[in-house]
């Protein structure tokens, strides 16, 4: 898929995030938007998956360790065809399969998550399982930068580095903000890249919103042998929605009707620009 098409899909994913959290009157749009491009890249380009057969055995696996950004994952899965896009507006509602955090009943979800620090361990276990079974699939997991404050992340990193799980790709969404404020004012996990290097990871720093950069980073990860890769993705929280960008307030708050209209107008403008780019 070319970059223009990826950008269009990413903008759809962003619209899905805004629409679903608005309908739910709850949820986490900020960190979903910062990761919208990587969700798009993984599901539309990078991973070996089949929306018609979500559990096919040789599929690549994805674990959303930062499970609160489920709206981003769900939107990517919906636009990729795992379930109807219309269902996104049932997010977080009683009776919906689109639970507040990912669970096992959602087509395309490989692991329940939401309690921070745990997804990376499950991803490491999947990667080890792949190695033991001499299987070809790769395992991807997305972590928040605030999540790195959880000790379990480093237990898992030590394990994956030691076990040389080169079929594992850890992605850190470094948007710099957590609930209580900037991560370097709460309990700084910096330097993130040097920490993962010290845990025997191959580390790549990348612009989270540049598809060429993502493309080459994931290629490099695939080609890296003998150690897992960590892609530290420098992102903008709330990316794409003017009033959410770089704002800590939009970590876990849904847009009201008025804000929803502004957000959708922002994204419509991006669509227009992408249309022009395509001509």
């Amino acid at each position: 898929m070319d970059n223009l098409e990826l950008k269009k899909q990413a903008n759809n994913v962003r619209k899905g995030i805004v629409t679903s959290t608005h309908a739910a009157k709850a949820g986490h749009p900020g960190g979903s938007l910062s990761a919208a491009d990587v969700f798009t890249f993984l599901y539309f380009e990078e991973m070996n998956i089949d929306p018609k057969n979500p559990e096919k055995e040789d599929r690549d696996r994805f674990v959303l360790s930062k499970g609160h950004t489920a709206p981003g994952l769900y939107a990517a899965l919906a636009y990729r065809g795992f379930f109807p896009v219309e269902d996104l507006t049932t997010l977080r509602k009683l009776g919906s399969y689109l639970q507040g955090h990912p669970n096992m009943h959602i087509p395309g979800v490989d692991m329940a998550s939401g309690s921070l620090g745990q997804g990376i361990s499950a991803a490491a276990g999947m990667a080890l399982g792949g190695k033991l079974g001499k299987e070809k699939f790769r395992v991807y997991t997305l972590l928040g930068d605030g999540e790195l404050e959880e000790g379990q992340v480093w237990e898992a990193a030590m394990f994956a580095g030691f076990r040389k799980l080169d079929n594992l790709c850890v992605i850190v969404d470094n948007n710099g903000l957590q609930i209580d404020g900037p991560i370097d004012e709460v309990c700084s996990p910096y330097p993130i890249d040097k920490k993962f290097e010290a845990f025997n990871f191959h580390v790549i720093n990348v612009d989270a919103h540049d598809f060429d950069a993502l493309r080459s980073a994931f290629r490099e990860a695939r080609e890296t042998k003998g150690m897992p890769t960590c892609i530290v993705m420098h992102s903008l929280k709330g990316k794409g929605v003017s009033f959410m960008e770089g704002s800590v307030d939009w970590h876990g708050k849904a847009p009201n009707d008025e804000e929803y209209a502004v957000a959708m107008a922002d994204l419509a403008k991006i669509d227009e620009e992408l249309e022009k780019e395509g001509r």
Binding site: M111, A112, S121, G125, M126, M158
Partner: protein, 313 residues
Amino acid sequence: MADVKKIATRESYGNALKELAEEFPDLVVLDADLAAATKTGIFKKAYPDRHIDCGIAESNMMGVAAGLSLTGKIPFVSSFAMFAAGRAFEQVRNSIGYPHLNVKIGATHAGISVGEDGASHQCNEDIALMRTIPGMVVMCPSDDVEAKAAVRAALEYQGPVYIRFGRAACTVINDRPDYKFEIGKGTVVREGKDVTIVATGIGVDAALGAAEMLKADGVDAEVINICTIKPLDEDLIVASAKKTGKVVTVEEHSVIGGLGSAVCDCLCAKQPTPVKKLGMQDVFGESGSAAALIHKYGLDAEGVYNSVKEFLA
């Protein structure tokens, strides 16, 4: 039997893993730097490629087990009960219980029979913690025969299972040709009509000893062995309570949330009966030999006998 055969259930666990390895090729065993103590080392020696030492990092180990199960492996995860059920509770709940994964937890060194290590390592809360997780099977075998049977049953069962093993050698009591094991089924190991003693783990042997002592006093005690605390064999307990009208529970665990609580939950709803719960009475343990501790806290045959007498008085 002239010689009383004794073996610690952790030893039975290690032996069972090794014995079942060929039959269950997907079985892998995880440990957190305690393979020598949990006895998964027995498996490790025979199948080094299928033993994964995760280091001293129990939280990660639970997640790794979850991930392995999602690739078709059947992981048996081991540590001391304190760390498997205690430290990693939330990982077990959220990464294994909630997604209902096919992970088996073999937790050794449960209860005060840990002995000399003292209260920090004597987990009297694991049954309570594990019982609260929806879909979790909780077992506590009473001897070598039952421990091995429980390991096999766990491997044959699809879904999360917690099995509690002990450190101290305990008497083999189920070595008989007609012994059968089924998850969720209790056993009447001694029939009686005056009082029911429901016991789990090493409490079963103590209950049998107490029943013999009670017999001399003209008290005919029924003894029920409950290996599977969840799901509980409610029919068996209700039927016995109906017959005897008095129930005593015995466990090497806190009386809060363990077997005693499970029995009370059941009887309150189905057959209201006076119950006396023997176990750790909302206190921490301490250092000492296993036998001395079991005696001090009234969980040996003599202690159970005294408590039953007092209860019936």
